[in-house]
């Protein structure tokens, strides 16, 4: 149905090769969270990968900073319709964190300080597609944007890039996370506009 909104002209200008359908380009960095911002001291911070057999691999903040650091330069897309182009981050590739982890799991759940969870296929976290980042635009990542460290999975809607991340649990089956249980799409590909369950 091609209903026209009389008198609406809109503002073009976004690059359709980089702005997914239904998104607009934002020049600031809006925030979407479901509750208060957790304040996590890096002295207390740890990141843990737990396999489907219960084996855990953990890093303290200093150990995490001692791993190979990468500098992803990516576009990000939030389900609330803003996209932000050319963002710069520093962090550790999930490939690095999984290098010594034995697992046959197909899925992962990211867990955050504050209780937030989100689920992803493991193949979307590997092969240079995902990082645990601690720096944005040259500055330590602010708490309201997920600091001290957040997951960064730029090819999926940004709710998958869990803020205040503290670990990944590898699971044989798909286990829907917070927004996924609340009606959002299980996978969340912005280029296929997978916003809500059933899209």
């Amino acid at each position: 149905m091609n209903l026209i909104t009389r008198g609406f002209h809109g503002r073009r200008g976004g690059d359709p090769a980089r702005i997914p359908p239904g998104q607009y380009e934002a020049h600031d960095f809006p925030v979407l969270s479901v509750g208060p911002t957790p304040r996590v001291d890096t002295d207390d911070w740890a990141f843990t990968v737990t396999t489907e057999t219960g084996t855990a691999h953990s890093w303290t903040w200093d150990e995490f900073l001692g791993l190979a650091q990468e500098r992803p330069h990516v576009d990000i897309h939030c389900v609330t319709r803003w996209s932000k182009l050319d963002t710069d981050w520093v962090g550790v590739s999930v490939d690095t964190l999984l290098a010594d982890v034995e697992s046959t799991a197909d899925y992962a759940v990211a867990h955050s300080y504050g209780g937030y969870t989100t689920n992803l296929p493991l193949e979307d976290l590997t092969d240079g597609q995902a990082w645990i980042v601690h720096t944005f635009d040259g500055e330590p990542l602010a708490a309201e944007h997920g600091g001290p460290a957040r997951l960064l999975v730029p090819h999926l809607y940004f709710w998958k890039s869990a803020k205040w991340v503290k670990g990944l649990t590898l699971t044989p089956g798909d286990e829907p996370g917070f927004w996924e249980q609340a009606g959002y799409h299980d996978y969340g590909d912005p280029w296929r506009e997978q916003r809500y369950r059933g899209d």
């Binding site: 026209i4 609406f8 979407l32 479901v34 208060p36």
Partner: protein, 241 residues
């Protein structure tokens, strides 16, 4: 899941010189839970579309819903919806959306609602739904606004028809003549005085611009509220809503 459906502007109300309530006729609309939002899609003659999310302001009901849109100067969608959109004009909507920033009418727990600016919109839906359903849960609303001229729903929110709903207006730039509090930012002392004590384990809903929500949520935690009882909705400064 939710499919797009046609919404026609039926009536409107000006809440302030820059905020307009749109009464939309949406045949087949089945109602919503207070706090939820809808996606709105506008289509230009050449097929270009723009979509934004807006909180629902009205109580739940069939075949119509109300949105309040604050003009964001320089924005793409809100100037159209506030200044151009006329009765009989049409957009498409889909929803209701969002399953977390929602108040359940059957929940007897006391409720603290804290809204900053246009963040009062989903909170108004909760108060109106409470009224519609004859709810008895105790509500305390803290509404932060710049001046008396910026007040939404003046004749409605905090009306005498809502026993058990207290409304505190926190003016941040200019207060009415004779105000004892004067004009200042909403403080932890305000939250302490006009909210419920943490011992009552109220549900807290906080909605507004990011900085406001951060400050209020931190203040509630400082007063001993359980972070898991605090639900937030932040309006990005990107002009999205």
């Amino acid at each position: 899941m939710p499919s797009w459906t046609t919404a026609t502007l039926e009536a409107d109300r000006w809440e302030t010189p820059t905020a307009r309530t749109l009464v939309l006729s949406v045949p087949g609309w089945a109602g919503h839970r207070p706090g939820q939002h809808v996606d709105v899609q506008l289509r230009a003659e050449d097929g270009y579309t723009a979509e934004r999310s807006y909180s629902i302001a009205s109580a739940s009901g069939p075949d119509r819903l109300e949105l309040t849109v604050q003009l964001a100067p320089g924005g793409e969608v809100s100037p159209y919806l506030v200044q151009e959109f006329r009765p009989g004009d049409r957009v498409r909507v889909r929803g209701p959306l969002g399953g977390w920033f929602v108040w359940r009418t059957a929940d007897p727990d006391p409720v603290v609602l804290v809204g900053g600016g246009s963040g009062v919109v989903p909170l108004a839906s909760m108060v109106r739904e409470r009224r519609r359903t004859g709810g008895r849960a105790l509500f305390r609303i803290l509404y932060s606004l710049r001046s008396p001229d910026d007040r939404y729903y003046a004749g409605d929110l905090g009306a005498a028809s809502d026993p058990g709903v207290d409304v505190f207006l926190a003016y941040t730039r200019s207060a009415p003549p004779g105000s004892v509090r004067g004009a200042k930012r909403l403080s932890v002392a305000d939250l302490n005085t006009h909210g419920f004590p943490a011992e009552f384990t109220p549900l807290c809903y906080v909605c507004g611009p990011t900085g406001f929500v951060e400050t209020v949520a931190d203040g509630l935690i400082a007063l001993g509220h359980d972070p898991r009882r605090i639900r937030t909705e932040r309006y990005g400064s990107g002009g999205g809503r």
